[in-house]
Amino acid sequence: MVLLLSVRCRLAIVVGLLLPLQPSMAADGDRHDRARALLAARCVECHGADAQEGGLRLDSRGSVLRGGEYGPVAIAGSGTEGELLDRIRSADADERMPPTGAPLTADEIASISAWLADGLPWLGAEGDADRDPRLDHWAWQPIRRPDPPAAVEAFQALPGVEPDRNPIDAFVRATLAKEGMRPTAVADRRTLIRRLSFDLLGLPPTPEQIDAFVADVDPAAYENLVEQMLASPRYGERWARHWLDVVHYGDTHGYDKDKQRPNAWPYRDWVIGALNADLPWAQFVAYQVAGDVLRPDDSGAIEATGMLAAGPWDFIGHVEVPETKTDGKIARHLDRDDMVANTIGTFASVTIQCAQCHAHKFDPVSQEDYYSLQAVFAALDRSERTYSPDPAVMQAHAALDVRRTVLDGLRKALEARRADAAGARLAEIDKALAAPGGGNATPAFGWHSEIVAASGPTAADTEKWVQVDLGREVAITRVVLHPCHDDFNAIGAGFGFPRRFRIEGSSDPTFATNVVRLADSGADNLPNPGTVPQVFTVDTVSGGSRYVRVTATRLAQRQNDFIAAIAELDLLDADGTNVARGATVTSIDSIEAPPRWQRANLVDGEFPSPSGDAIALRRERDELLAKVPLEVTDGLRAVDEDLAGVTRQREALPALRPLYTVTATQRGGIPRPIHVLARGNVSAPGREVGPGALSALTMLAPRFELPPDAPEGARRKALAEWLVSPDNPLTWRSAVNRAWLHHFGRGIVDTPSDFGRMGSPPSHAALLDWLAGKFRDQGGSLKNLHRLIVGSATWRQRADDDSSSSAIDSSNARLWRQNRRRLEAEAIRDAVLATAGTLDPTAGGPGWQDFRIEHPEHSPHYRYDLADPADRSTWRRSIYRFIVRSQTQPFMTSLDCADPSMRVEKRNESLSAIQALALLNNGFMTTQAVEFAARVAREAGDDPDAQVDRALRIAFGRAPTDEERGVLVELLRSHGLPAVCRTLVNLNEFTFVD
């Protein structure tokens, strides 16, 4: 007995229960249903789409009849024969199926037997016999374009209720009528403008805007208001935040070092700009996956790719562990996993990451699908790249790169000829000069800059300076730099010595003015000098300098990063006295790891002694070089001049901007081979896969047929095209559902990043398809979608619970009213600033920071408690906040701000004591309450009644009731205007939007 071999299976119950049971075909079909349900519940986990133990599937009529590796297991029309029956009836526990759980009961066996005897009736066309029933799930179906249902007559003339305004209402109200509910009355204009303003702009309307709208007699007053808001640049700032939650954007890496990402923000600004410009959705999506490939000359398309790098990144796992080690492999596997999950979860609303270890339990997503998606990103690493908003500048830089490569080649050839002419001794001398000198006499090595991660092509060009204060002006005649010696990474002599640098003097400690160049390293990179002191004679001694600064302009490379380190700086005056010894040393930064590395070591007289005969060797070298033919020497000089010219031209061009994104340069554009990994284990690679996407979308080709030598970008381009294909139902439904969520507080699918079986089914399936189809076919305009949604009577309903409908649908899934919403952290903070009249509307650029950093040299600690709430640079919109992963901002976090480590599809709305403490006592709140009071006093004068009136109108857009005025004036008189303002911003009415 080998068939259905007793491989121990996991319990099949969970999957079985979730499989749809085929509806009964006939009255006596109950037994058939039961038999098929039993197969689904007890057998298909091991004999189905996920696994085919013994080559057998039991999830369609065809597969049961076909049997497994050892032949058929059942005979249509026989209720007694076949291995299927033998095995479920077996008395031998090792042989009996299913192998886990209780054996089937006699009654259950009888059902299966009867079903077999009746010929295995199975719903569905025989041709689809092998079709995975999970493919029938709604999300994988093409978008239908259903006609809107007829308007529900009874709802067209209900008191206070608006008649249908657009087809959304027809869909929603048809469901309400069917389920015995009714729509709610339209909200008043004050409520509508406040709701609209928070929905579209994330800010409260001003009292003047409210008054104007309430008084506007134009029949198109509402539509005009919507247009005005959609045209506001504040719109993109509001909606970009929703998007950044989903792609888990942050300005630091996360994990242990949590280093800053100073150049992530151009992506954030691109999202804001793209939304404001209403970039068609297909482009919005495609650029984020492959903008650099699709539109290499469009800086925006390049910035868009920041999405792929938006999530956390394990610095240690990538920088300190090589890819050849298991931990390094795991880190890179997880990095691709983040890219895959971020792309597919965000744009297609499918949870793919489960398929990393095994075929998806609930959705028709195989491991092969998953690893095909990993293959799309297999050439990429997160790092910085450069770009320019001006394509001509990008091209000019590229041309200079080519020229430099040619010159480098020429120089190498000339060097070879020089070596031939000078003889083997030249190489020996060069080697000896670079050899380790005597090591360090004491552990006081020198000054060591902070480490610059190799995160992009410009990392080596990070400037690092160190300077001394001589206490008086001194005319310097000679500068001597002593290189360091440290065996870290087996570098030894010359450790960290900058490849290029300049030495300047100034009377200004900031070197902003009066700077004189004392010496520099020349246009070319210096070879490692070993521990030979580098001596520079100052050509023209003009006056004196109190401050002398050494600025490294090209850093020394360690294994994966860059540093500058100098053991000792000697500054000799006209008498040859070293005036630098013991001077005060400052620097742009320093790792300060005493005793070995600290600023003071730069002038402590301790440095590694050079190999004794260095000076003699140099003399010999000069003699050898005299043998070299003139044409070679001249040629080298000419090439060096040309190279210097290239450098000068590059400096003359507008600088390229850095961007934190993904690049393929680290691997030369060659994708890593991607294998299906058994249980997601990097040490258990299975078959290799090429690039592709989800095979569950049967209307699209699941694998990208690309030539083997296709460039890396072709894979991402293919994925982008797969995503934005009009035939891809996921992308369009996902987009309209996310928009719907932010207009109603709940999506049509309540699990916006998961349209799979574990997610929620759509509350209005036909409406979802109607919206998705319309959105797709009318150019993918998000603004048109907003117009449609906020234009509906459904959206314009009151939020109050005043209907009998709540007894039927207390969660309001069917939208018999609008939902009242607690504002998100950003909207509360921005509303406080707007209310106080202090909101700085400056848009874009590096994030503002409301923390101080401690211990930047190791793992930065972000200390929010040390920030000054009165610092006006932080009074900008919250979207521009610098987002730290390791320490989230406590005030924002208490208000359920998205955790930038997680892909957040929907904010929580919790109410906690910590939140109340933050709103009552946080320095931001109390500072702004004082500003708010000052504004009220400015605008309302001295009269307490007028002040209370104005404060309420600013905060809530309404006048106080007489009772409210009474108590507020009393509070004002006894405790001052700030007390009134503090209270208003803590009220429910401030935090909730009707």
């Binding site: 994990y255 242990d256 070092k257 956390p312 394990d314 240690i316 796992g317 931990d327 949870t351 489960c354 790891a593 990043s753 998961d754 574990m758 997610g759 109050d800 619970d801 709540s806 009242r820 607690r822 211990h855 190791h858 793992s859 600690h861 992963r885 390791s886 320490q887 208000l895 359920d896 955790d899 480590s901 997680m902 599809e905 929580n908 709305e909 919790s910 109410l911 906690s912 004591a913 910590i914 939140q915 109340a916 403490l917 933050a918 009552l920 006592n921 946080n922 320095g923 109390t926 409210e964 009474g966 108590v967 009393e970 509070l971 405790h975 007390a979 503090r982 209270t983 803590n986 429910n988």
Partner: protein, 490 residues
């Protein structure tokens, strides 16, 4: 939307009766106002208000609980099992020999090294005769209360992912940690204090920072509240801002209560408004209860001496241990103590790459006496019967040195020791075993999900049933893993 700080019964609160408008500033009716008033009195008289004694705590979520509360000590950096609790006589014999045939050098930095015996002698302790090294004399004196698991294995060889795994079950950034799951599953016992309090080492945060007490995708109110113990306020925003007199604050709160109650009345059927009012009440109470819970003024000299409060060598960690006991006593569900911070020079954690003795001597001086004091103190108060003490680290250390002739050990995830003590676990018990040199597990391997599943079990929670839907998955602390460690249950 709900306030998970509140017990279920407290959620739908009827609006307070209307205060006659004319007198609202002088009236003390209404709960927020009266709390505010009591806060005012407490502040003015500096009187300590007793914490509200927890009642009816912890009946368990799925079955009766052995433990009502947990205190977890997490030692950052990777404590050597070979220098503490895993006695390896054979390693002494093999000192200086090659590891060949017994395993491969897994070290994070991968430098070659030879086997090295424990730098500390071991002795048997207590009636159980448990082996503990001379590094930890105070914990050794508690040996009969400790339940050692010698067969722990971690998934990562790298500090931060391994630290994340011990705290959240996942090596990735940002999954909810155990305390957040407990707060979500069990709620709070004392409404006046957070359910989950974290006491980071005063010297610095652990690897990964505050992600180690995140609530991840769980609602924010389950996030660990980190208390500072180095003299400033225990938590951010606890203190009414300078410049605001107590009378100002009371007036603020009275008006807030009045207007928010009216607003709730105007919008019937929305329980959020009542919950929000309640959250302000709790906030006002915390302004009293947290300073009281975190002040040591009423601790007798003997207790201060037991913990070593005035001993500077423990770098403030003793204060955290004593505060942990005070918080547990007042009904905090889960207190997490970090011993050791993240990276830096000189090291402030157990990451003994360079020199085991120098490193572990320094770290043990901060940890041994305070943790032993906490266990003894809990026992003296009868609290050890229903309190679970968890002592943990992210991984162990390699039996070979890091480099030939070196004296440090590299990271080692294949075997390490943790211990539990107190509610529901056997004392003086040893579970699992490593091979002769402490390289690999040879008996009863315990993964971190197993460890978590067992802790949840002791709290009356079936780890497979404590779930939260997020991005397509019903997430669990134990992911798809976790087996109960039955052998250690008493």
């Amino acid at each position: 939307m709900s306030n998970e700080f509140l017990p279920a019964a407290a959620q739908p609160v009827a609006p307070a009766p209307l205060v006659p408008r004319r007198h609202f500033l002088s009236s003390s009716s209404g709960s927020l106002a009266s709390i505010a008033l009591s806060w005012l009195l407490a502040r003015e008289s500096s009187a300590t208000t007793p914490g509200r004694v927890p009642a009816g705590a912890g009946s368990g979520l799925h079955f009766p609980a052995k433990a009502k509360r947990v205190v977890q000590i997490f030692c950052s950096g990777g404590v050597s099992h070979l220098e503490t609790f895993d006695h390896k006589p054979e390693l002494e014999r093999l000192d200086g020999k090659s590891l060949e045939g017994m395993g491969e050098n897994l070290g994070f930095f991968g430098q070659p090294g030879m086997l090295m015996k424990s730098v500390y002698p071991f002795a048997k302790h207590g009636e159980s005769g448990s082996w503990v090294s001379s590094l930890l004399p105070h914990l050794a004196s508690c040996a009969d209360d400790l339940c050692f698991i010698h067969s722990m294995v971690a998934k990562s060889n790298n500090h931060t992912p391994a630290t994340f795994q011990m705290n959240s079950g996942f090596t990735l950034n940002g999954f909810p940690c155990m305390g957040a799951w407990l707060s979500y599953g069990l709620g709070t016992v004392n409404e006046d204090l957070p359910a989950f309090v974290v006491l980071p080492d005063p010297r610095g945060q652990p690897a990964g920072g505050s992600i180690n007490w995140t609530s991840g995708f769980l609602p924010a109110n389950h996030q660990g509240v980190a208390f500072r113990t180095d003299g400033v306020d225990p938590i951010a925003d606890l203190r009414t801002p300078a410049g605001l007199s107590p009378a100002d604050r009371v007036a603020d709160l009275r008006l807030l209560e009045t207007m928010n109650s009216d607003f709730a009345r105007l919008h019937p059927g929305d329980t959020d408004f009542a919950a929000r009012l309640r959250s302000y009440e709790l906030a006002a109470r915390m302004q009293v209860s947290i300073p009281e819970a975190t002040s040591f003024d009423d601790e007798p000299a003997a207790v201060r001496e037991l913990y070593g409060i005035d001993d500077p060598t423990n770098k403030g960690f003793s204060r955290n241990c004593l505060m942990a006991r005070r918080l547990l006593e007042r009904g905090v569900r889960f207190v997490q103590l970090f011993n050791g911070g993240s990276f830096g020079s000189p090291r402030i954690n157990w990451d003994g790459h360079e020199n085991m003795q120098e490193n572990h001597d320094t770290q043990a001086a901060t940890m041994d006496r305070p943790v032993a004091a906490l266990i003894k103190d809990l026992k003296d108060r009868g609290m050890l019967d229903d309190t679970l003490v968890v002592w943990s680290t992210e991984f162990g250390r390699s039996p070979v040195t890091q480099g030939i002739g070196a004296t440090g050990r590299d990271h080692h995830p294949k075997a390490f020791t943790c211990f539990l003590a107190g509610a529901g676990v056997k004392g003086g018990h040893h579970h699992g075993a490593t091979d002769d040199v402490g390289y690999g597990v040879v008996e009863d391997e315990v993964t971190i999900p197993d460890f978590h599943a067992t802790i949840l079990h002791l709290l009356g929670i079936d780890h497979e049933k404590l779930t939260y839907y997020h991005n397509g998955v019903n997430r669990r602390l134990t992911d798809v893993h976790g087996r109960l460690i039955r052998g250690i249950l008493s």
